[in-house]
């Protein structure tokens, strides 16, 4: 079952297309990371999903409900933390929790107390006097304490120092292990996402490039390094699955996006006979950078 689904979702700001037919499916019970470069449409997608913005066209469903119809009943099951969110910063942490509590029938005071301790939040300090990281933790706490079915985090790590990021991630993971819930997180901080996510989706220029489990993604992306015996490169008519192929002298580096043992064997046989071929796994960050470069090159070409 998908907890979030979009179909041909479009959103315009004036003449600018922020989303251009976004198709997205987030399966329940997973941590789904939506990654993309700045301006790719991550925040807009989340705002449309959360009914903060109306879609220009297309459908978006969250918890089985059309996102423009999300009401208090659904929101009682959704947690939302965003770097842009304007918290009532005149409140203390305690006042924030006291204010939020009556809106949620499932509010767990024990969980609230435990998270307050673990996040080391000073309950009587005003939110405006908290550091950015502490503020995000306070927002997270106010979104975790009612055990939502869906937790939406929009760029939660931006501006946080590494220590706070770790605490933040630890807090999310700790609670997520106790509850059957789905986390939908948007970020361009790939390293943090890699620690958290089960699934990853890449959004680029308002469209989904792909969305799949991280394991599958990392399994199909490989860096292939070939040391040629002579000057014959074997790079003519590269297959579509090669995202990049660079040559320096008799050394060739290829990024393969549909790696399998069979394809490797085929390359060895048909293109790099007699060459020394090394296959290296790629981190999510490397995959993201490779994809971003390809996309940028395509846009430059189409713009030209």
């Amino acid at each position: 079952m998908n907890i979030i689904e979009t179909h041909q979702l479009c959103r315009k700001y004036g003449r600018t297309d922020a989303l251009r037919g976004l198709d997205l499916s987030v399966p329940a019970g997973n941590i789904f990371a939506l990654i993309g470069a700045n301006g790719a449409g991550k925040t807009t997608a989340i705002k449309v999903l959360m009914n903060l913005l109306e879609p220009t066209s297309g459908d978006a469903r969250v918890l089985g409900v059309d996102s423009p119809k999300l009401g208090p009943r659904e929101r009682q099951q959704i947690g939302y933390v965003s770097e842009n969110q304007k918290l009532p910063d005149w409140m203390t942490v305690r006042q924030l929790l006291d204010y939020c509590r009556p809106f949620y029938p499932t509010w767990d005071r024990e969980l609230e107390a435990r998270l307050l301790r673990e996040f080391e939040l000073p309950p009587h300090r005003k939110l405006k006097h908290l550091s950015r990281g502490m503020g995000m933790k306070a927002a997270l706490l106010s979104s975790l304490a009612y055990r939502p079915k869906l937790l939406v985090l929009d760029e939660p790590f931006s501006g946080l120092d590494p220590l706070v990021r770790d605490e933040f991630i630890r807090g999310i993971l700790e609670v997520s292990q106790q509850s059957e819930w789905t986390i939908f997180i948007s970020s361009h901080d790939i390293n943090e996402v890699e620690q958290l996510a089960d699934w990853v989706g890449l959004i680029d220029n308002g469209r989904m490039d792909f969305a799949e489990p991280i394991e599958t993604l990392q399994a199909r992306f490989r860096r292939i390094e070939v040391t040629l015996p002579g000057n014959e490169a074997g790079l003519s008519a590269p297959p579509a699955s090669w995202l990049a192929a660079e040559r320096e002298g008799n050394f060739v580096r290829i990024i393969e996006s549909r790696f399998s043992d069979a394809s490797l064997e085929q390359y060895r046989r048909e293109r790099f006979a007699g060459a020394e071929v090394a296959v290296k796994p790629m981190t999510l960050r490397e995959i993201f950078v490779a994809l971003a470069r390809v996309n940028r090159a395509q846009y430059s070409k189409s713009a030209a």
Binding site: K47, M50, N51, L52, L53, G71, P72, R73, R75, Q76, I78, Y80, S82, N84, Q85, K86, L87, P88, W90, Y99, C100, P102, F103, Y104
Partner: protein
């Protein structure tokens, strides 16, 4: 409801210091008003201006800003607002904010009520003062709400407020440029109906805008609604020419003619002005009006005088309305004179009638129409001269005498109000005005010599509403002479000390329509004042 109350409590807690400051300013204004009411002449202006700044600048501006303060924590046009991502329905938030605005609307009454009671307001005055306060507060809130619901924070609200003022001035400029006749004032009834149209437009617009924003958060549509409301209001200002008052009853109902008997008493011919042969002489006719009850008097609206001659020819003349017809009756009321109710008319005799009257008898009849008024002395207060404070006493203080302009042959007496009482319409300066349409008359009456002076000019020099208590500096002008009853005594100062200031209100008590005729009479001489009593 519990959650709405929960949101309200949150906002009340957040706004507690601003509300406290607002209350302090309001109470400060009341205190200043009290000081001002007792101040002697020299300090009046200073306190007047301080109190004015408190009451007319600080409080409205603070109330205006508080409307944004109510919205500020939960803006309805900001996609990053905290409340949107929480299980708070737009309707629930609207209910909470509306509740706060109602509280803001009522709060001035709750704070000021003890002060009103301390100043001796009766139930009627309390209700009028409360109504007045609610109106002022409602105007402020209704002006601020549309701006608040399209502002994501206080600074945007200020910006939108400034834009609104600039836009208003711009529209007014267009109006002036496109409407050379702007200076021609609209008829009061048309102006009033136009005001109601504008108020209705703005109220409907404000409610629609608030609904759209809280329900759908569509700021563009809201701004479109606002623009349409403004354009519709502007169009109404340009083209409105209708009086929407319900049809007024006829001033005079001919059906009543038979039920209001008049008896012709006398016709007095004033001498033809010497050296002005072209000017027609004035005839004063007097009728008995046995239909009038004690304490009633009439104001003549029109009289048609009908002169018929033996050969069947006739002449008609119409007397214009007589404005000061009630004054003799007021004087009689003050002096306690109980004569037979009479009605006087005066008119200029047409030249041909005047010429023929000396030769043959004429059959005279008159058709008289007018208003019946019930006269009532609503207040009689002693007069004090000089700077003595009469703060809580019942009286007027005459601060100084100023010989008025010579050609007026009068005297101007500025009078300070001494007991703050709610007054709705100028120049009701020492008692609540019973009804807007009832004319008022002011007299100085000295019981020792029985002399009555009628004020011919009543004007507010400086008025200041302090929580609906009107402090005023009224000017009464007493002018002696033929047109006005009474004359100045030689020792005015000592005469005034013994006098009281009396206010008489003429309550409308219906209208009449009557006819009267006289037996034929003939004028034998016209060189001197001649009375012909048939």
């Amino acid at each position: 409801m519990n959650l709405s109350w929960h949101i309200m409590r949150k906002d009340l807690f957040r706004l507690r210091w601003i509300l406290l400051l607002w209350i302090i300013v309001l109470v400060g204004q009341l205190a200043l008003g009290d000081i001002q009411s007792a101040i002697v002449e020299e300090g009046f202006s200073l306190y007047y201006w301080i109190t004015f700044i408190f009451g007319a600048v600080f409080l409205p501006v603070m109330s205006f800003g508080l409307v944004m303060g109510v919205q500020d924590d939960d803006p309805v046009c900001d996609t990053d607002a905290f409340w949107i991502t929480r299980p708070i329905a737009g309707g629930r938030l609207l209910a909470a904010k509306a509740g706060l605005l109602v509280l803001l609307w009522l709060l001035p009454i709750l704070i000021t009520a003890p002060w009103w009671l301390w100043h001796g307001y009766d139930a009627g005055q309390l209700s009028r003062a409360a109504w007045h306060t609610l109106k002022v507060q409602a105007v402020i809130i209704l002006l601020a709400v549309p701006l608040a619901v399209i502002s994501r924070n206080g600074s945007r609200f200020v910006l939108h407020g400034m834009l609104a003022v600039a836009g208003f001035l711009f529209l007014e400029l267009i109006y002036w440029v496109s409407h050379p006749g702007f200076r021609v004032p609209l008829a009061p009834a048309v102006r009033e109906s136009l005001s109601w149209v504008l108020i209705a437009l703005w109220v409907m617009g404000a409610l629609t805008m608030a609904f759209i924003q809280y329900r759908y958060r569509r700021t563009r549509q809201t701004i479109v609604v606002m623009v349409w409301v403004i354009l519709a209001g502007f169009a109404a200002c340009l083209g409105w020419n209708w009086d929407l008052h319900p049809q007024k009853p006829l001033l005079v109902d001919p059906e009543q003619a038979s039920s209001f008997p008049l008896e012709f008493q006398s016709a007095t011919l004033a001498p033809e002005p010497v050296g002005n042969p072209g000017v027609q002489p004035i005839v004063t006719t007097e009728f008995k009006a046995p239909g009038l009850r004690a304490g009633e008097a009439t104001t003549v609206t029109s009289v048609t005088h009908d002169f018929r001659w033996a050969d069947g020819s006739f002449s008609k003349t119409l007397t214009p309305p007589v404005e000061h017809a009630l004054i003799p009756a007021c004087v009689a009321l003050i002096l306690g004179q109980r004569g037979e109710p009479r009605l006087q008319t005066a008119f200029r005799l047409p030249a041909e009638v005047h010429a023929q009257l000396g030769h043959e008898a004429v059959q005279y009849s008159a058709v008289v129409a007018g208003q019946i008024s019930r006269l009532e002395v609503v207040a009689e207060v002693p007069v004090t001269i000089g700077g003595k404070s009469l703060r809580h006493g019942a009286g007027v203080r005459i601060d100084y005498f100023v010989p008025f302009l010579q050609f007026h042959l009068g005297l101007v007496i500025p009078v300070s109000e001494t007991k703050p009482v709610f007054a709705r319409v100028t120049p009701a300066w020492f008692a609540p005005k019973p009804a807007a349409a009832d004319p008022e008359f002011y007299f100085l009456f000295n019981r020792r010599d029985g002399r009555v002076l009628q004020a011919t000019v009543v004007r507010d020099d400086a008025t200041l509403d302090v929580a609906t208590v009107r402090y005023s500096r009224a000017t009464l002008s007493f002018a002696p002479g033929a047109a006005v009853h009474g004359s100045f005594p030689d020792d005015l100062r000592s005469w005034l000390v013994q006098a009281t200031l009396i206010k008489v209100v003429a309550h409308a008590a219906g209208s009449f329509y009557g006819t009267a005729s006289a037996a034929p009479f003939k004028l034998t001489e016209n060189s001197a004042a001649t009375e012909r009593t048939p």
